[in-house]
Amino acid sequence: MATAGGTPAAAGDNLKRLTDLYRMMVRIRTFEETALEAYKAGEIPGPLHVSFGQEAIPSGVCASLRTDDRLTSNHRGHGHALAKGADAATMYLELYGREGGYCRGKGGSMHIADFSVGMLGANGVVAGGLPIAVGAAQGLKLLKSDAIVVCMFGDGATNRGPYLEALNWAAIYTLPVLFVCEDNGVAAHTETRTVTAGEGPAARANAIGVPAVTIDGNDALAVEETAARLVAEIRAGRGPRMIHAKTYRWCGHTATDAAAWRDPKQVEAAKTRCPIARLKAVLIERGVAAASLDDISSAARDEMQTGRAGAHAAPWPGMASAFEDVQDAGAVHG
């Protein structure tokens, strides 16, 4: 396992790349903080799943992607969307259910998609994105594209059937898919290890024939370096790969869940492994001025506050839109 201090030179030498990585993580953190504030203020309806503590994974993985690469996501997908290039203000509009949101207010937090940057959608069904991801890869292959597909899912998804089906599928057709298991150790209110037999996600993937590596998902450099290597292998036509990234969910399952069953000490311990603080220490050690990192934070705060305010002030969707984009033939009335 690579650690933040002694990371391979390939990623480490490029300070701009590291700073960009840092910026993305800070943007995700700030997006989630702002969304949670807005939620608590009663501004955002519906369920909201935030990803404090997990920012290194989407940021590190997406650093190696092109815009025409595709990504499928899950219910905890704000970070995935931002890292793939979605616009924060348009995401806030969607969280608020307003006109101009990514889904014109018809999806909300669990269904953010931005096809223009290859973000094929969050998903309200655990493991729902896995079959879609392998099919997208198969379609791209049929179209002779060299784009690849990243499939983000949680540890909870690895006990559902589509995990077996989709990994097997990607392996037998040698598809360009990077599976990324964000293993925060918990699925809703259950510790995943208490309901999971065997050695876990990576062992299962390897057994199916999808080479998998387990890494410290709170080590942004390790994530970035591993993803860069695997993306290159996948793009070279060598078939699917998997990253099993271990992390920790600081917050409850949803914005209203206190996760009171958990020992608070566990959460405190996890916070000492904060992926953002760790990368910040590396950057400072390599000579980046602390002030420039503060600038990144304040720019992120401005961006998110502006996005939030814009969404709060935006109009609801026009009522006619409830009846649009159902289907062409026989829409609404047969």
Binding site: R70, T72, G101, Y102, C103, R104, G105, K106, G107, H111, A113, D114, F115, L120, G121, N123, G124, V125, G128, L130, P131, I132, A133, V134, G135, A136, A137, Q138, G139, L140, K141, L142, L143, S145, V149, G161, P162, E165, A166, N168, W169, I172, Y173, E324, D325, V326, Q327, D328, A329, G330, V332, G334
Partner: protein, 324 residues
């Protein structure tokens, strides 16, 4: 016209569309071997294993992969082998395919055809005989097609493949080998939501679709021989469905009988009747009846299965009851 069977008509339609559009491809179990009934015979040889994809027995991913492939711009035909197995792919069909366009605000184009051969066929028992098309008419976001003859199978498949909507295509497996005919040359698309006026008469309107249509026509012919001329409308697609044609017929006959092989309770026949009462008013309709299967699973033993089947005799009896 060219003499053919329903299964071959469907094959020719897929062949035509795959030659016409390189984005069209097929995925499903054993399709490289031609499919269970030869629907895809010879296609592996012509199109290769990237467009005729024999898959593992993994229905969730057959369905979900079809969707994913559509989201990047291809046009998959998803073969479910038998309708009953779609139960293993319901998340991918109901929560994903039927929702993505709406839920993502119009960004997604789930242009898939899901072929699901359905209905009773050679005493296949409860897990290989179901007709649950009504479930899917209830599901916003999809088109539901249920043809009953070779010409409609071909023309509706062409429309389905060219449609940007997800199309659930219920092949009537009991009629695979029924003889029929299709036009020479190019197979023209048949629009969704246009019923076929299969028999003309003023005594009674019979609305029907899919595998039971030949029995309805046999019953209609017998009724004609007894001097009762009935109007028969084969809906061909149950969502959208041809409400105008049914209403126009009812305006003449004032009597409605809906016949389907599916269980009568909660079947699409109830929807047809309720819609017509809404549209024409209760006083415009003298009789409105349904004839469908009893609410039991399809049994195995041939005499028991026959008990469930909607025979021409049952249809004749129901029609006479509606005339009384």
């Amino acid at each position: 016209m060219v003499e053919t069977t329903l299964v071959e008509a469907g094959r020719l339609a897929v062949l035509q569309e795959m030659r016409r559009d390189p984005r069209v491809w097929v995925l499903g179990e054993d399709v490289g071997r031609g499919g269970l009934w030869g629907q895809y015979r010879g296609m592996l040889e012509e199109f290769g294993p990237e467009r005729i994809v024999s898959t593992p027995i993994a229905e969730s991913t057959i369905m979900g992969a079809g969707l994913g492939a559509a989201l990047v711009g291809t046009r998959p035909i998803i073969e479910m082998r038998m309708f009953d197995f779609v139960m293993c792919a319901m998340d991918e069909l109901v929560n994903q395919i039927a929702k993505v366009r709406y839920m993502f605000g119009g960004q997604a184009k789930p242009a898939v055809v899901v072929r699901m051969p359905h209905g009773m066929w050679r005493n296949s028992a409860a897990q290989h005989s179901q007709m649950l098309e009504a479930w899917f008419a209830h599901l916003p976001g999809v088109v539901v097609v249920a043809p009953s003859n070779a010409e409609d199978e071909a023309g509706l498949l062409v429309s389905a493949i060219r449609s940007d909507d997800p199309v659930l295509f219920f092949d009537p497996k009991d009629l695979w080998l029924a003889p029929g005919a299709i036009a020479d040359g190019e197979i023209a698309p048949i629009p969704f939501g246009k019923a076929r006026h299969a028999r003309q008469g003023d005594a009674l309107t019979i609305v029907t679709w899919s595998a039971i249509v030949p029995n309805v026509l046999a019953a209609a012919d017998q009724l004609t021989s007894e001097g009762i001329k009935v109007d028969v409308l084969d809906l061909r697609t149950i969502w959208p469905w041809d409400q105008d044609a049914v209403a126009a017929s009812l305006a003449r006959t004032k009597r409605l009988l809906v016949v389907h092989e599916a269980v009568e309770v909660g079947g699409f026949g109830a929807e047809v009747i309720a819609s017509m009462i809404d549209r024409l008013g209760p006083s415009a309709i003298k009789v409105a009846k349904r004839l469908g299967a009893p609410r039991i699973p399809v049994p195995f033993a041939p005499p028991l299965e026959n008990e469930v089947r909607i025979s021409p005799a049952k249809i004749v009896a129901a029609a006479k009851a509606a005339m009384a």
